[in-house]
Symmetry: none
Subunit: 228 residues, 4 copies
Amino acid sequence: MHPDSDSKAPRWGRRKESRPAELMAAALDLFVERGFAATRLDEVAARAGVSKGTLYLYFSSKEDLFKAVVRETIVPMIHEYQRNVEQSDLPSDQLLPALFRRWWEMFGATKLAGIAKLIMAEAGNFPEVAEFFHTEVIEPNGALIAAVIQRGIRRGEFRAVDVEAMSHLLMAPLVLKAIWAHSFDCLCEKTSGLDAERILTAHADAALAALRAPAPATAPAPSKGSRS
Amino acid sequence: MHPDSDSKAPRWGRRKESRPAELMAAALDLFVERGFAATRLDEVAARAGVSKGTLYLYFSSKEDLFKAVVRETIVPMIHEYQRNVEQSDLPSDQLLPALFRRWWEMFGATKLAGIAKLIMAEAGNFPEVAEFFHTEVIEPNGALIAAVIQRGIRRGEFRAVDVEAMSHLLMAPLVLKAIWAHSFDCLCEKTSGLDAERILTAHADAALAALRAPAPATAPAPSKGSRS
Amino acid sequence: MHPDSDSKAPRWGRRKESRPAELMAAALDLFVERGFAATRLDEVAARAGVSKGTLYLYFSSKEDLFKAVVRETIVPMIHEYQRNVEQSDLPSDQLLPALFRRWWEMFGATKLAGIAKLIMAEAGNFPEVAEFFHTEVIEPNGALIAAVIQRGIRRGEFRAVDVEAMSHLLMAPLVLKAIWAHSFDCLCEKTSGLDAERILTAHADAALAALRAPAPATAPAPSKGSRS
Amino acid sequence: MHPDSDSKAPRWGRRKESRPAELMAAALDLFVERGFAATRLDEVAARAGVSKGTLYLYFSSKEDLFKAVVRETIVPMIHEYQRNVEQSDLPSDQLLPALFRRWWEMFGATKLAGIAKLIMAEAGNFPEVAEFFHTEVIEPNGALIAAVIQRGIRRGEFRAVDVEAMSHLLMAPLVLKAIWAHSFDCLCEKTSGLDAERILTAHADAALAALRAPAPATAPAPSKGSRS
DNA sequence: GATGAATGAGTCTTCATTCAT
DNA sequence: TATGAATGAAGACTCATTCAT
């Protein structure tokens, strides 16, 4: 059209194929930053470098855009994530730290963390979206951790614990850190730079200690040979 | 309906004293449920049983109402919370579980959890509010836990750990559970009923195990007689 | 509380009788300064030192207050003014300057000038008020001047002129000055201090010259010794 | 109705260029008629044949619209007016009447008169606008007249007078007539139709008489050879 | 396809007016 | 009388959505 003959490199990379993705990328940032209601479509369009009307060529409404953003950002990550389920044969006390680190790279350091925050914020307004996220992301994630714990127990590497509850305990620190990164870090860099790595380390350390320890009971277990 | 006692409540009561609190209570629920932007002042007024204009007798704008809600809901809880800092002389492995339970009662089971979710959601739009919350709630909470851990280490009840990081690890499971309660629990009761208590138990158990265990190092502990 | 024992001297001169006048005085200032629509009844009440509701004890509506202000401010001035109609027997060239000065004192230096501005501004919204003002103030004023001119002509002191038109010419400089005092003088004192008096002087001078001079005809007087 | 040509005008035209002018024209009439506060933007939009929202495509607020109307209406007139400053070489007693008539055509018979009334009415609420008007319109106008008088004096055509004061005297009748036309004429046609022309004539006559006459002093000049 | 001017329903906010005290 | 809390209609302003170009 206006642009150029575009033999190969269009002036600004305007290929129909990529449009929806560009629009969603622009929308994602704003939705995460401001929430659904406070995000104006003008801004989304402007950030994507198109006019407001163009949005409607690809998405039938703001809500549709929102859902597309959620879906399209999550689905690929789920696929990426599936490939990691086949975590195999390491000893559990090596598998778990590896899993945490992997997770941080795929989740905490990713837009997905922003999405999570966004969805939690809009859960009241978009219950289906919240449910979708819960079913497709949170539950599988929990299940993965649960599976690893279960395996450790079965192999005798871990002591018997409430698997479901423990899976929440192991998820929480990273999830929360990721979410907070989108809420508070921008304000004060106080704890941000330091922690990402430190938390991973401390978390792995604490998790293994908790899972390996014999039976801490409330009364300090004497000094059994805690063994594998 | 709206009021409670009534019976012959005048068409509109004349309670300058109680009104602000009533209005903020109504607003809190809606803000938590829908977020700032999606909450209409008409609804807030209706829920409080007053007309729209009445809101402006007490709050100069929607934003003002929002900030008042945050401030007025948080401040009392902070005071309540201050009184619990004087946790005294129990052995650390009893103090910690007690602290967790106390916390859940004051935080997770409270509107404060809703506020937390709300503030995280609106952090991008109200940075000052986010900062206020971080400074007044999150940091003191973290500091409290850190102090307990520190004390345990000093007394030789806990092993040496990265106190700051550990404090995050100990906060996270309860915080996340509380937040999720406002995002997903309404949808599917799947995990809700069960967990509140189970998580507390498992968390206390795991935390103590992690803090007491000698030094699990990433490399599996060499089978020493774990010392005290 | 609010009241006082008020044995005889009420704290702040609060006698029922004076209330309406106090309210109107407060209203007048604000109406003149801001116009009808932009004046808030809260402010009127506040300035008069009463509550908003009290206004409605004396005036049935904002419009009613407005009309009362206009009427009650104008009517006394008209009476005052009537007494000056009996201008007696001075020679016309003394009567005229005296009339101008009198007028300035009664009109330009008075709230009446503010009223005039106000009414002109609101003429579109309150045609009856405008008409009232025109009939009760402008026309009589014009008639008075016309009468004086007429008298001067009859006595042979003035040359024959278009009396009605001349009456406008003689009114205009003072009226305009008075009106502008309420519009521009507050901004820049540039011309204000100086002119009030100078205009009176120059006006009297010019008016007499115009009325006495033989007949300047549009065609330049035939080149007599136009003297310096 | 609203449009003019049309016939098959699209549901809503697409005229970015002409819109602002159309909107300002519509706004001008209403502002002049009703004042700033009493003018509703719906009406402005309706009169311009567009929807309310369209206004905001061109003006960021009601106040902005107001100021634009003032500015854009005045500026062209100023330019028109500048061209008349080069009034040249007529004898002063011809130049002055010509100036008055010119002025009436450009000012009294124009929207500018309405603007003047409007600005005076809103001076209290929009001091900057009032100042702008005073600086750009009133002062230059006064200066122009003053220059003509000065010239006449220099040439010996006029007697020495207080130039500044006289310039006000000469401005006033026309200005006031113009302003009143927007306040009272609509009501009663009593004096309106007649006067415009008569005032011009009488004004020219009186002005020349006043400027040419020798020195009327307050004491009636005896009987100089003032002859017909 | 892309644009962006135009729309109008929806919100916040104000303020004249009422009325229980 | 006087008060001032409460009201609600009205108006400024926003923004998702449409559609002629």
